[in-house]
Assembly symmetry: C2
Homo-oligomer: 303 residues x 2
């Protein structure tokens, strides 16, 4: 396989997810001390590493987006459509034209830094199941057994995410943390994970990858569940306290899932054990998603 | 003292604090089932209880506010100024003209329901130290020892809050919870606390107050501390992990308070033990507040 020549680190695809924004600010050097910037943090011998703040206007107003969710704006036909003029459509085109295929700084690998109000710990969402990404996942979980690997075959189907602009890549999703704040522990863990990804790319380029275990646990997204709502779309039940913050833990048929405002318990109606993630993510209320349902699978790695 | 004739319950003074918004929706009956509304929840014999969603447009966009913080819009001269035309200035005038002094539904007591990303548990912020409010605080802490009482003599000085429109009142502040989500446990606790406040008003009106302990613990706000920032106003350090979520716990001189992005620890420089609250509240980044510093005091109640 070809060498990775350029890696792109993205913060602030969502303007209220401060962890990635401040990590990119740290890497770039804050406004007041460009001279003190610390490119050595992301400098590796075999490739160039660049950074970008994806949605600066959303960050200014501490919102996920200005007009529309930037992380759903990377459909190829949209990126090639000169008539789309929402702020995020324009930013998506700028990002793609700079770092995407044929771009002025075309990147081979993208790390998109996100945070969530769900208790996702340190999650890597794979952009694809290409062996390069799978080995990355194996590398990261071997370095830190708390890292979880998430994948959804249908994730990019209708509204491709930013991490689809490069051949390889992943989304880093950390939580639980509220929007618009910094959690020092999660910040430091995200930073460590980001540098570990760069270390992997370096080891790969140098033909120096360490041996991996031959199986990898991947949580595979299979469907989403919405909150119970009335005919006006109003939420009629909350995540049950027994499920809140229990991302990646098994949910069995009959387990408490929601509780109505009157205290009525709604149980899980599925037919087998599943593993919910993105439980009670703030940004998904408007998307009609109370949680993602995943299955825990084992991927056999071949060498 | 005169009887309380009308109590106002306010949700959604901040549009992204769902706990109070959904409690008011529940009390009012959701849109689809006005016929099933449950006024009995807030009905007491000796007074009328009314509700309002204070900032519906901010709720629609799941933001704290549209133009400006509604909870800083209750200066009397602003309420009487017909030229102020921001969305929140207009809403403040409408709320005041309806429920304030001389209003069409003048209320004697207001409960303003808020939530915070800080770990404030169940906090009652007193609008004043009038004995009526102090006895309320004593009543609530006797019912639930986890309830904390907060007061700041300077809170209303520059920019009065909504709870200043009535003679008596309090702000209910619960957390930690991210903006834009519902936490079932906190929702239920807020509901219980709200009904307990109504029970207190009822007992007061009926001359039927239970005996109280003669001292009340009040956390008195004395100052705020901002994040360390550079000359461009950019945050340069995070709340230290040892302080995060430790609202109402003692902070001693020399204790870890912030940690910079480079890992440098910044300690508390005060000269005596204090009790920080509102630690890492998302909405206060823009206000230049990393936490409120309080002193733990004992208020002697007289009968």
């Amino acid at each position: 396989m070809k060498q990775i020549k350029r890696v792109l680190i993205v913060g602030g695809t969502h303007g209220n997810e401060f962890t990635g924004i401040y990590l990119v600010k740290k890497i770039e050097g804050f406004s007041s001390r460009k001279d003190l910037s610390t490119p050595n943090l992301i400098q590796r011998k075999s490739f160039e590493c660049v950074t970008t703040l994806a949605n600066p206007n959303a960050y200014k107003i501490v919102k996920r987006y200005v007009d529309t969710d930037l992380n759903r704006c990377f459909q190829l036909q949209d990126l090639e459509n000169p008539n789309l003029s929402s702020y995020e459509a324009i930013r998506a085109k700028e990002i793609y034209q700079t770092f995407g295929t044929g771009g002025s700084q075309q990147a081979d690998f993208v790390i998109d830094l996100h945070s969530t109000t769900a208790n996702m710990g340190l999650t890597i969402i794979l952009a694809s199941k290409h062996p390069f990404n799978l080995y990355l996942a194996a590398y990261l979980t071997s370095k830190n057994s708390k890292v979880k690997i998430l994948y959804s075959a249908t994730r990019h189907q209708d509204s491709p995410h930013l991490d689809s602009i490069c051949e390889f890549g992943c989304t880093v999703e950390v939580g639980a943390v509220a929007q618009g704040i910094l959690d020092a522990t999660l910040f430091q863990q995200t930073e460590e994970l980001t540098y570990a990804i760069l270390d992997y790319v370096e080891a790969y380029n140098q033909g120096n990858l360490p041996p991996f275990k031959d199986t990898l646990t991947i949580y595979e997204g299979i469907q989403t569940i919405d909150y119970p709502r009335n005919e006006f779309g109003e939420v009629q039940a909350m995540i049950h306290p027994k499920l809140q913050f229990r991302d990646y833990e098994p949910l069995h048929p009959g387990d408490e899932t929601f509780i109505t405002f009157e205290g009525e318990v709604i149980t899980y109606k599925g037919s087998s054990k599943v593993y919910p993630v993105f439980i009670n993510e703030a940004a998904y209320y408007e998307k009609g998603i109370a949680m993602f349902i995943t299955q825990k699978t084992s991927e056999i790695l071949t060498y």
